[in-house]
């Protein structure tokens, strides 16, 4: 994308029917460190790569518990993500207060999407610079949604966002058909493997990733480092497949994409 005369305001259309500010906001998501989500019939797993600025500082928090049955992983401007998490928590609390039951995930993501849309149609606002993977369970089962800065949202079996997410997506595309009936452990291992793909050779340890699970009769929670490290180690023992298979797929460059909001 190059600078042009239609990209200053979010309220200015380009002649091709694009809102460049919104597309730039989606670029911000691509710059953030990776976050992935996958779901089975009974569980949803979120995993993120936690890169800190320096060895001295702590990691950015990228996974937030929204309610017992919902959690989110973010990529992009984490400050925007924090603010949206506060909004999501508030919505869940208010719904539960009025209806004495948990807010269905599909309803929450629509509210979030509508909130994002507002920022694409006000001259004094800017779009949120964060993409959210919303993982949750409700009466209709396990769900994974992706909410973009544009105000669009989609449901996924598995998805990855952030930098080098294409590598994870490639892996997920290969394996997603098996996820519906995956066990909880296999789902978590697949998540870790997908995270590994985004690291491109760097060693995966529990100190640079965060994993969270929500499931039937399992409230949303972030898993502890020790358990994750054990799972990573068991992954390494099993891993016999040569990695050149993965590399070949990464070479494929993205086709001329339609305007991102149309996806």
């Amino acid at each position: 994308m190059f600078r042009n005369q239609y990209d200053t305001d979010v309220t200015t259309w380009s002649p091709a029917g694009r809102l460049f500010q919104v597309e730039y906001a989606m670029e911000a998501v691509k710059q953030g460190s990776a976050a992935i989500g996958l779901r089975s019939k009974t569980h949803v797993v979120l995993a993120t790569v936690n890169k800190s600025n320096s060895e001295l500082s702590s990691h950015q928090k990228k996974i937030f518990k929204i309610d017992d049955h919902i959690g989110v992983a973010i990529a992009g401007l984490t400050a925007d993500g924090r603010v949206l998490s506060r909004y999501l928590r508030s919505e869940c609390i208010n719904y539960a207060f009025t209806y004495e039951s948990p807010l269905p995930v599909g309803r929450l993501v629509v509210q979030l999407a509508d909130k994002a849309q507002v920022c694409t149609q006000r001259s004094w606002k800017r779009p949120y610079g964060v993409g959210l993977l919303v993982a949750g369970l409700d009466e209709s089962g396990a769900h994974l949604y992706y909410n973009c800065p544009s105000g669009n949202y989609f449901e996924y079996q598995a998805f990855a966002i952030g930098s080098r997410s294409q590598a994870a997506k490639t892996y997920l595309e290969r394996k997603f058909e098996s996820f519906t009936n995956s066990s909880r452990e296999d789902l978590i291992k697949d998540a870790l493997f997908a995270i590994k793909e985004t690291l491109q050779g760097e060693k995966l340890t529990s100190s640079i990733c965060t994993v969270a699970v929500v499931g039937v009769e399992e409230p949303f929670h972030i898993m502890d480092q020790k358990t994750i490290q054990e799972l990573i180690e068991s992954l390494e023992i099993k891993e016999e497949e040569p990695t050149d298979q993965g590399e070949a797929m990464e070479e494929r460059s993205p086709e001329a994409a339609p305007a991102p909001m149309d996806i």
């Binding site: 518990k65 506060r86 928590r89 508030s90 609390i93 208010n94 539960a96 207060f97």
Partner: protein, 216 residues
Amino acid sequence: MASKQQANWSPYDNNGGTCVAIAGSNYCVIAADTRLSTGYSILTRDYSKLQQLADKSILASSGFQADIKALQKHLSAKHLIYQHQHNKQMSCPAMAQLLSNTLYYKRFFPYYAFNVLGGLDNEGKGCVFTYDAVGSYERVGYSSQGSGSTLITPVLDNQLKSPSPLLIPQETEAVDLVKDVFASAAERDIYTGDRVEITIVNAAGIRREYAELRKD
């Protein structure tokens, strides 16, 4: 002379019942009867007036149950927000202050709720906080609120206060004392009876006991 217009209905009702709490050195007993009444009728014999607000805080309230339900939900929601922001449970003294502020917020249309908050403080010692309807509160060693409080408080005073300094009973003694005072209150207070629900908070967690009371 025109007289002032007055409403011919009241927004409040009293659903009766009694609450008691006793603080120990490392435990707290919080109890309430399970009878819900209106006027001279019984609505149900099986209503819980106790609500666990946090890990170590239990609220017992008597008065107008609709207001009490709203108050409990309000406090639970506030506690959830606290947990999201601080990544930990609210301590009992913190909850005590929150309850006071929440009650005073409605100073000019109060919650018709007479509360006793019990639990463990930050050091693991038992604590009891007693309130009026608009949030005035005090930490005490024991307290009783509700329709049977006038019958129960003197007995607790006699057993716990007059052997001065304040006698802090053992857990089993406190539970027995609670059962005794409720049995006594049920004799003469028509709004207290059916069953008493007793919760005991200590370092191990929360335990629940029931004792039958007079059904008349």
